[in-house]
Symmetry: C2
Subunit: 383 residues, 2 copies
């Protein structure tokens, strides 16, 4: 009985759930995070407090671990490359993180590998913006900072005419992807699992509902309401992306389904993802368990659905910052097939992801009813 | 966001799974166990190595914890009583452990509270044995040491005539319960959950199959194959036992169902139990989660079944002692609805509980087929 150690770069809620799901596999987890009280820090075997850009701290984590993984992309890639050069195994590897960190490189990768994606231009200067918008004649564009955007930050939906009228209306002048905005598209996500032996499978698509103000997923359901044909096509494309990357690990592939049934890859996250939380209770194997299996060199698990599920983010209320509690916790705990995951964050801030709730129900009709009820109840209040 | 600490007396597999299921509740677990490498020690927040009879060590655990629970009954009751006198909360409490530690007191408790149980005599000396067997005229008796028996140790099925012929055939001369043996009885177990507010519920009955040689449960299924009427009666009796005890915690109530449908309480375990492992995947709330909820003062969860389930113990092979592995681990990991729980025990010994495997299937017919296949595969071999 050998107990190994997995090092996780990042110590947030994704790391927390990775540990929760991984404990059954008799492996220990060490974490690195700037926050000494980060969600995963309480239950990790050893928590190193330090910046994810700090090569010294990343090395410290690596030295104490048999293998490394990540739960956030915004980390020091050079440090990872140097570790890989010395033979350290990191899933996903540094090359993939480098592509994913830069939405421009992501787009170029899709083009190069014939992965369908929305039309785009890479811009930076006001002249770039003007040329791109004049040339493409897109009415609306989604502008995304190539680097550093996260959870809706660094993303803007713009009217081309307004920008062309006065270039000062452009929201920023950092390297940016301008993308044709696809109206009435449905957003879906598919999590793909692939191990070092090349074994690959994926979960069913989930469908997302966004809070337009916060630009955050607030509710998702699995399976998505799409035709079997579109579903199959989306799964094939999602797996194609991961094979093209030669990716080892788990990968959330976010896609648009256009009103004509076309599928366009939006972006990928090479790690456990908000759109896969529901797999903990809704599927035979969770996204986290798949990653643990991959890190330990074990076969993938079944991605089959046990019951239709919905996932509701528990977000910080807009009217306060500070100590908090879940208003209807008792009532929620008493509901069958309702699973509360609070992330042990110290304080609430407006729109901060403080937890999520998974809802299971035997039929989609019952699921919708229960999910809407839970959404209403899942309010964060001052404690 | 306050993170509390639960102290667990014992650090075996039950403690391990309690921690695995409890992490989601943002509470930390400290453990006490004589083995520094016990199953729960790897993932507990703090592991204290020490005897469960050592009042000093129990106090050390108590001083660092907000509340205490147990995962094994054979512990120093006096130390717990002294802690309770000082106001420490222990679920289940010391008085219940005192009754449960002694199978004679358990029997007397059932008699006192009109709980149906098999007829019995309390004996110790050869004269006691002779008198009891002559008086009762039972053909076969189950002899159980009042204290210290565990997993089939200290239990014997005997022919009265053989003992009466030569009292030296009695297996021991310690305080003993002699019980009328009920032929063709089915063994079932129901886990009852009860919190400090008096809220009570129970899981569906599981049915057990024993390995006659090892006298160990090797396979159980949920729900049990009993009539709805018997099931309802068994649930009512199981809850009656816990209410009579004024028990707070979770309680496995093992019962016989006789060939005429009569229900007799055999014994109780005031803690998570082998017969409740299947609840982790098979039910909306696991037995471990129920205990965590009770310790944290939260409402009970639904005990509803998600899918019919079977639980197979992974036992040490009879032909070796030492480092081990699961022979068909890869194949088992690839099967849908098959969950391997290995307990991180250092070495295998004959018949040692090294892990268990839960099997889910949508129908009972499919479950049986899959469970039998898994039982054949779940062999422990030298590693």
């Amino acid at each position: 009985m050998q107990v190994g150690i997995i090092g996780i770069i990042g110590g947030g809620q994704l790391g927390k759930m990775l540990i929760e799901e991984g404990n059954r596999y008799n492996v220990l987890f060490n974490t690195l995070d700037p926050d000494g009280n980060s969600p995963a820090s309480y239950i990790s075997n050893k928590h190193i407090q330090g910046s994810l850009q700090d090569a010294y701290k990343i090395n410290e984590l690596a030295n104490g671990a048999d293998i490394l993984t990540i739960e956030i992309e915004h980390i020091n890639i050079e440090a990872l490359k140097q570790l890989e050069a010395k033979g350290k195994i990191i899933y996903p590897n540094a090359g993939i993180l480098e592509i994913v960190q830069d939405k421009g490189l992501q787009k170029q990768f899709y083009t190069k590998h014939n992965i369908p994606t929305a039309a785009y231009k890479l811009v930076q200067t006001p002249t770039d913006w003007t040329n791109a918008l004049q040339e493409t004649k897109w009415q609306k564009v989604a502008a995304k900072m190539r680097k550093g955007g996260y959870d809706g930050k660094g993303v803007a939906l713009l009217n081309s005419a307004e920008i062309l009228q006065d270039i000062d209306n452009a929201p920023w002048d950092v390297p940016t992807v301008l993308e044709e905005y696809i109206p009435n598209a449905k957003e879906i996500s598919i999590i793909v699992n692939r191990n070092a032996g090349g074994e690959i499978n994926c979960f069913d698509a989930v469908e997302m509902e966004f809070d337009a103000v916060a630009n955050l997923v607030t509710y998702l359901k699995c399976p998505a309401s799409i035709s079997q044909d579109v579903h199959n096509k989306a799964k094939a494309i999602a797996q194609d992306v991961v094979v093209a990357l030669n990716g080892i690990g788990i990968f959330a592939v976010e896609m648009f389904v256009t009103s004509t049934g076309e599928i366009l890859v939006n972006e990928i996250a090479p790690r456990p993802h908000n759109s896969g939380h529901h797999t903990i209770e809704g599927c035979y194997t969770s996204q986290y368990e798949q990653l643990v299996r991959i890190l330990l060199g074990k076969p993938l698990g079944s991605t089959g659905i046990i019951q239709p599920s919905a996932m509701i983010n528990v977000l910080g209320a807009n009217n306060f910052e500070g100590a908090y509690k879940l208003e209807f916790e008792k009532e929620l705990l008493s509901m069958e097939g309702v699973y509360i995951h609070m992330y042990a964050k110290q304080i609430s801030k407006p729109m901060r992801k403080l937890g999520h709730i998974t809802v299971l129900a035997p039929t989609e009709a019952l699921l919708k009813e229960k999910a809407l009820k839970v959404m209403e109840m899942a309010q964060v209040i001052l404690s």
